[in-house]
Amino acid sequence: MKPVNAIITEIVNETPAIRTFFFDTSFESVPGQFVMVWIRGVDEIPMALSYENAITVQKVGSATSALFELEVCDSVGIRGPFGNGFGMEKGHILLIAGGVGAAPLAPLAEKAGSEGIKITTLLGAKTKDELLFRERFKTAGEVRVATDDGSEGMHGYVTQLIDDANRYSQIYCCGPEIMMKKVLDKVEPPKAQFSLHRYIKCGIGICGACCVDGLRVCKDGPVFSGEVLKKTEFGVYRRNECGERVRV
C-alpha cells in the first residue's frame, strides 16, 4: 500500500522525552504490530502502535525530532500495520517493559485484561518522570517499578525485578536490546516473546535490511519467541543502515 494520510488530532506529553501522537485514522491491529510513519521530506520510521490510532515516540534522532515539531492538524503518511504482533496466552502473564518499550505492551495489557488474563507488569525507566503508561498497566493488573536512579520503586534495572519467572504462563518483553537479552538469559526461552527493534527500510519483508541472521524483523517479527532468538545474533550484533554488523 501507499502511505495513508493520517492527521494528528491530539498530542500527549507522556514524559519529558516521550509523546503520544493520536491520529484521525484507526488501524485494526494486533498488539505488537507496527506502522511505518513517514514524516514527509525527512524520513520514514517504524513505530509500534500504542493505541489503535496512536504511536508513542521517544525523541532520539532526526526523524523523531522532526515528528516532535509537528502539531495538531499536521499530518504524516502511514503504511501498515505490519508484522506479526504478540501471541496471546491464557493464565498469568508477565510484561517486562523498559523505557519506550512500554508502547507496544500497554495495548497488550489492555487486551489481555479484557479477556480476563491475570497480568503483572515490571516497568523500568531511567528515572521516575520517564516511566511510561504506568496507569494503563495498573488498570490491567499489578505493577512493579524500577528506576536506574532510584527515584521511584527499586533502585536498579527492571530485569532485577524478575523473581520466579517460571510461575508465569508467558512473558512479554520490549525495551533496549541489552535489557531484553538479560531477560532472555533469565527465563525459559519458549515461554517468552520479545519485540525487536531494527533499522527497517521496506517494512514488507523484501529488502532484508532488518534481518537478524535470517529472520526479517518487519515480516517474521517484530515479535519473536525466545527459543528462536536464542539461535541468532540477537543481543550480540545488530546491523546499521549500511548492513554492517555492529555490537549491541
Binding site: 503518511g77 527500510k201 523484501i206 515480516k219 549500511c242 548492513g243 554488523r245
Partner: protein, 296 residues
C-alpha cells in the same frame, strides 16, 4: 528434472534469488537457499559502506513495488563473511557488485571469493552508478572485460530496461566476455502522495518491480535470446510458476525472483514443485520449453 548447468554452475533448479532481496546478511541468503532456491544473488556490494537513500525506500503501488534503496551495503571489505555464511545453504552464491568504473568493478571482484559475479550496471536511482553506466555500450563492454580479466569464475551482466534497445547493451556485455546476461533490473518510476504533493520515495523516483513489469521483462528476454549467443537469465515480476515457465519459453535459461519473496518466502520450492508437475503433465523437459516461443 529441473536441474541444469548454467555458465558452468550446476543448479538443482532454474530459480534464483534476485539481487537486492534478503541479500545483506549471510543468514538471510542461507535461509533462501534452504527454502529451495537453485542459487542466490547477494545485495549489490560496492567499494565503500553506503547507507542508501532516506526512507521511504520501498512502497507497494498498483501491481508492483517502487524502490529506491540507493545501494546500501557494508562494502566488499566487510562482506566475505556473509558470502561464506550464505554458502552454508549449499547452492551457488552469486555476488552482485557495483562501481563507478571498470577499476571499481575489477577491484571488488578480484577481492571477493564467490561462485559467480553479477555486474549491476542497471540500478536506476543511484547517481554515478548503475543505469548511468549501463546505458553506455562502451562502458558496459569495458567493465565486463575488466572483471573477466580479474576473476576465474563466470561473470553475468545485469541489464537495465531503461534504454531504447536492450540488445545493443547485451551485445556489448557479450563482446566484453560476459558468460550470461540478466534481464531486467527495475523500470524507472515514481509515485506522488496526493495528500501533500510529495514524491513518496525519499529519493523522489526509483525503480518499479513486481507484476507490472513482467511483460516488459519477457519482451527483453525474448529479444536478447535472439540477439545473443550467451544465455539470458530472466527476472522481473515473477510471482508464480506460470510466470517462470513464460520466461523460459521466452528464452531465459534460468530465472530470478525478487519482490514476490516478501509475501512468500517458500516461493522457490512452491514454483519448482508446480513446474515439475506441469512439465510432467505436458511430457516436456526443461530443455523442451527453453526458447519455445521462438519456434512457433
Amino acid at each position: 528434472m529441473l536441474s541444469l548447468t548454467l555458465t558452468g554452475l550446476k543448479l538443482k533448479n532454474p530459480l534464483m534469488l534476485a539481487a537486492g532481496i534478503m541479500g545483506t546478511t549471510g543468514g538471510s541468503l542461507k535461509r533462501i537457499a534452504q527454502a529451495g532456491a537453485g542459487a542466490i544473488v547477494t545485495k549489490s556490494i560496492g567499494l565503500e559502506p553506503r547507507s542508501g537513500h532516506s526512507n521511504p525506500s520501498m512502497v507497494e503501488v498498483d501491481c508492483g513495488y517502487l524502490n529506491a534503496m540507493g545501494l546500501p551495503n557494508p562494502s566488499y571489505k566487510d562482506f566475505q563473511g556473509e558470502i561464506d555464511t550464505a554458502r552454508e545453504g549449499g547452492v551457488p552464491v552469486i555476488a552482485s557488485i557495483f562501481g563507478g568504473c571498470s577499476l571499481d568493478f575489477s577491484g571488488i571482484a578480484g577481492a571477493l571469493d564467490a561462485d559467480t559475479f553479477e555486474l549491476n550496471v542497471s540500478c536506476p536511482h543511484a547517481h554515478g552508478y548503475g543505469t548511468e553506466i549501463g546505458t553506455d555500450p562502451a562502458l558496459v563492454e569495458d567493465i565486463t572485460h575488466a572483471v573477466k580479466k580479474a576473476v576465474k569464475v563466470p561473470v553475468w551482466v545485469k541489464l537495465t530496461p531503461n534504454v531504447t534497445d536492450i540488445k545493443g547493451i547485451g551485445l556489448a556485455a557479450q563482446h566484453g566476455g560476459a558468460d550470461a546476461v540478466v534481464a531486467i533490473n527495475t523500470v524507472r518510476g515514481m509515485a506522488i502522495d496526493i495528500d501533500s504533493g510529495y514524491p513518496v520515495l525519499g529519493n523522489r523516483f526509483g525503480g518499479l518491480s513486481g507484476r507490472a513489469i513482467k511483460p516488459v521483462a519477457v519482451k527483453c528476454v525474448y529479444d536478447l535470446y535472439e540477439a545473443l549467443d550467451i544465455p539470458v537469465i530472466g527476472v522481473g515480476g515473477i510471482t508464480d510458476w506460470r510466470d517462470a515457465v513464460e520466461f523460459i519459453m521466452a528464452g531465459a535459461k534460468a530465472v530470478q525472483i525478487g519482490s514476490a519473496v516478501g509475501d512468500n518466502i517458500n516461493i522457490f520450492s512452491d514454483i519448482s514443485s508446480c513446474m515439475e508437475a506441469f512439465l510432467a503433465e505436458k511430457e516436456w523437459t526443461l530443455d523442451d520449453i527453453y526458447g519455445m516461443a521462438h519456434d512457433t
